[in-house]
Amino acid sequence: MATVAPRPFPRRHLLGIEGLSAREITVLLDKSEKYVDRNRRVNKKQSLLRGRTQINLFFESSTRTRTSFELAGKRLGADVINMSAEASSVRKGETLIDTAMTLNAMRPDVLVVRHPHSGAVNLLAQKVDCAVVNAGDGSHEHPTQALLDALTIRRRRGRLGGLIVAICGDVLHSRVARSNIQLLVAMGARVRVVAPPTLVSPLFERMGADVHHDMASGLRDADIVMMLRLQTERMQGAFVPSVREYFHFYGLDYQKLAAAKPDALIMHPGPMNRGVEIDTDVADDIDRSVIREQVEMGVAVRMACLDILTDHLSNAAPADAGAAE
């Protein structure tokens, strides 16, 4: 391999946050920052990925993440194709690996993959030649979500280190929580996870988070309150007795929020269950809630990831092809 200079992000794929250094995370965030500005202009279109093909392969339904990746690819000039499991041959019994090999034969440059099972994206990445971006796999990781959350926080607070971040809700099954804990811990934030004992494990302490079972202690002096979505199928007696009881103890309302810092930011990866994990007024509080801003950051972060990963591909586009500067 004729690599010339050390690359700022020396990886072929973005499969997770685990293993990324603070430096690599910073490289991604700095690059994203430039795309935020770019996206606020009238002409958002660039030609950095002109001629490149991006396939969004979603084995699990998603609107916002898929749209965000699609916009990111198109704004960079790539040809973007969306494939969903419903429409593909996966339903006909073709294995994940067969699907990967088939798509690989079509010579895409980037595969953006979401899958309901942990590790499925890693498996697929072993079988293809192109760059793979994990858009969420089971309960494992959702790296671009963690990056967009970090970017949102960094722009509002100017830093990540030293902040107290409370992640509340179904931590156990959440890929968003896993990616966020690892990113925030790597960047020096103090992370707490807050959930009933059925939705969190004491083992999260080994990932560097403090485990809390009540909102009052978990939110005390928090700079950031990050709410997670509670999957409806996990309620009704399986992990918590009822929606009503869950909201009573863990739903974010102004009363519970009072424990946090007065200017604490409220975040949510969406889509929200209003009245289940978050009170409607809190979610819509323009002084506190940065939920819409997270969505905006999402496009910029995904553009930055596509930019950096395709930069590694052989015969990379010439530098004057319109990279964000």
Partner: protein, 441 residues
């Protein structure tokens, strides 16, 4: 090489210049052994001191270990219904390579071995195709579905050597109690896959930090311990003979020690991969390291070896579970569990001898005399008149296990590339050599 050990007369064969090792009576001495037809005729240190007489074929063991052929108490051999994963021909060929001369096959086939006709079918197919001895275990419940007891008495008469629902646990406590009680009247052995299904079913690897990081649902050690504790209570109630098929946790070893002290008729097995690997083998979602019960923590692995040393665990098994590529090349949670273990059991067990964990005699006992005693088999001993099932073991030569080197039909092994020391140099069943390692260069 003989396609089948049951055909033809192998004549008289002298195994000279051997280190005779028989765990049943503790014999470990240089000597020779004579087989005549299908049986051992004589053995001892002085035998053939003046050379081998004419008319007897001589096999020079080169000072290597000559032991009773190994008995593997737990292997899935595919037939009937899963011939795409393993057959009696390929499975027993793998056994021969692994030094195994008797394979006990599991009843979780399709259809399950829950009827005398199936036992007879296995025996007939084994006569046609197998290169080592095969005995089936019968199902405890019809279809291994955990609802109705099988005709254990008749199955036993037909040749089933013990009873198990394979990789399914008998969940219903009342049914398990009755099975143990009924079996005790006929002195049959009940073999349980020790797992509380309600705690285990949602999981796919050991519960712990690694599973948490990988986002995979875990199986807690308690899933095994709870089931074992329940079963031990039922053994106490019924007096039935009970064997825990393969235990995986430190806690289980402690419970077995306790049961032993109370004199309960309880025994246990351990799969080679459970003392050779821990959960870290899963690494980045390696489905070849997905097993049932799952690979556990390092403390558990060490406790298993300690349990083997102290005799709380009685037998080593391969837990041979052949899986085709389709079943393993899947996201971890969807992939099938199991390791193709027949060919790797002996080299892995010998690691325990080489690293000083267990004496060689104990290692071999767990694959010869111990399973023979539990199952009431005539094999597993070096004695005049005993069946001539033998293995010549090269203890010392280092080599690497390899996936490509396996002869089993399915090659799902997590041990590809593992450096090991020692292997079966020659495997003899009923006087016939069924496997012989090519001499080095």
């Amino acid at each position: 090489m003989a396609r089948s050990f049951s055909k033809g007369d192998p004549g008289r064969v002298a195994y000279v210049n051997a280190r005779l090792v028989d765990p049943r009576d503790g014999r470990d001495e240089p000597g020779a052994l004579l087989t005549d037809g299908h049986r051992i005729a004589d053995l001892g240190p002085g035998l053939f001191a003046d050379g081998v007489p004419e008319g007897i074929r001589a096999v020079d063991c080169g000072g290597r270990v000559l032991a009773p052929g190994l008995i593997d108490m737990r292997a899935f051999l595919g037939e009937p219904g899963h011939e795409h994963k393993e057959t009696l021909a390929t499975g027993t060929e793998a056994a021969a390579v692994g030094g195994v001369t008797t394979v006990i096959c599991l009843p979780g086939t399709d259809p399950a071995i829950d009827d005398t006709a199936l036992v007879e079918y296995i025996e007939r197919r084994a006569r046609e195709d197998a290169v080592v001895r095969v005995h089936p275990m019968g199902a405890i419940t019809k279809g291994t579905e955990g609802r109705e007891m099988t005709e254990m008495g008749l199955l036993g008469n037909a040749g089933a050597v013990a009873f198990t629902d394979g990789d399914r646990a008998v969940a219903d406590a009342r049914l398990m109690r009755r099975a143990l009680a009924y079996a005790s009247g006929l002195d049959l052995l009940i073999v349980q896959h020790v797992e509380e299904a309600a705690l285990a079913d949602a999981g796919c690897m050991n519960e712990g930090e690694l599973a948490l990081r990988l986002g995979l649902p875990g199986i807690p050690a308690a899933a095994e311990v709870i089931a074992l504790e329940r079963d031990l209570r039922l053994v106490e109630l019924t007096g039935g003979r009970y064997h825990a098929a393969c235990v995986s946790t430190a806690e289980s070893v402690a419970r077995l020690a306790d049961a032993g002290k109370r004199g309960l008729p309880v025994s246990a097995g351990v799969a080679a991969h459970h003392f050779a690997l821990n959960e870290n083998a899963v690494g980045e979602y390696r489905t070849f390291a997905k097993t049932s019960p799952p690979l556990r923590a390092e403390e558990d692995r060490r406790a298993l070896i300690e349990g083997m040393r102290r005799g709380e665990i009685d037998v080593i098994v391969s837990d041979h579970s052949p899986q085709d590529q389709e079943s393993k090349r899947q996201p971890f949670i969807q992939a099938a569990a199991g390791i193709a273990g027949l060919e790797t059991m002996l080299p892995l067990a010998l690691e325990l001898h080489h690293n000083g964990s267990l004496p060689l005699m104990r290692v071999l006992e767990m694959m010869t005399a111990a399973p023979a005693r539990l199952l009431g088999l005539d094999v597993g001993r070096l004695e005049a008149g005993a069946p001539a099932d033998l293995v010549v073991i090269d203890l010392d030569t280092p080599w690497r296990l390899s996936e490509a080197g396996l002869v089993a039909k399915s090659k799902n092994t997590p041990f590809d590339g593992r450096p090991v020391q020692g292997r079966a140099a020659r495997t003899v069943v009923a006087g016939h050599t069924v496997h012989e390692l090519a001499p080095p260069r």
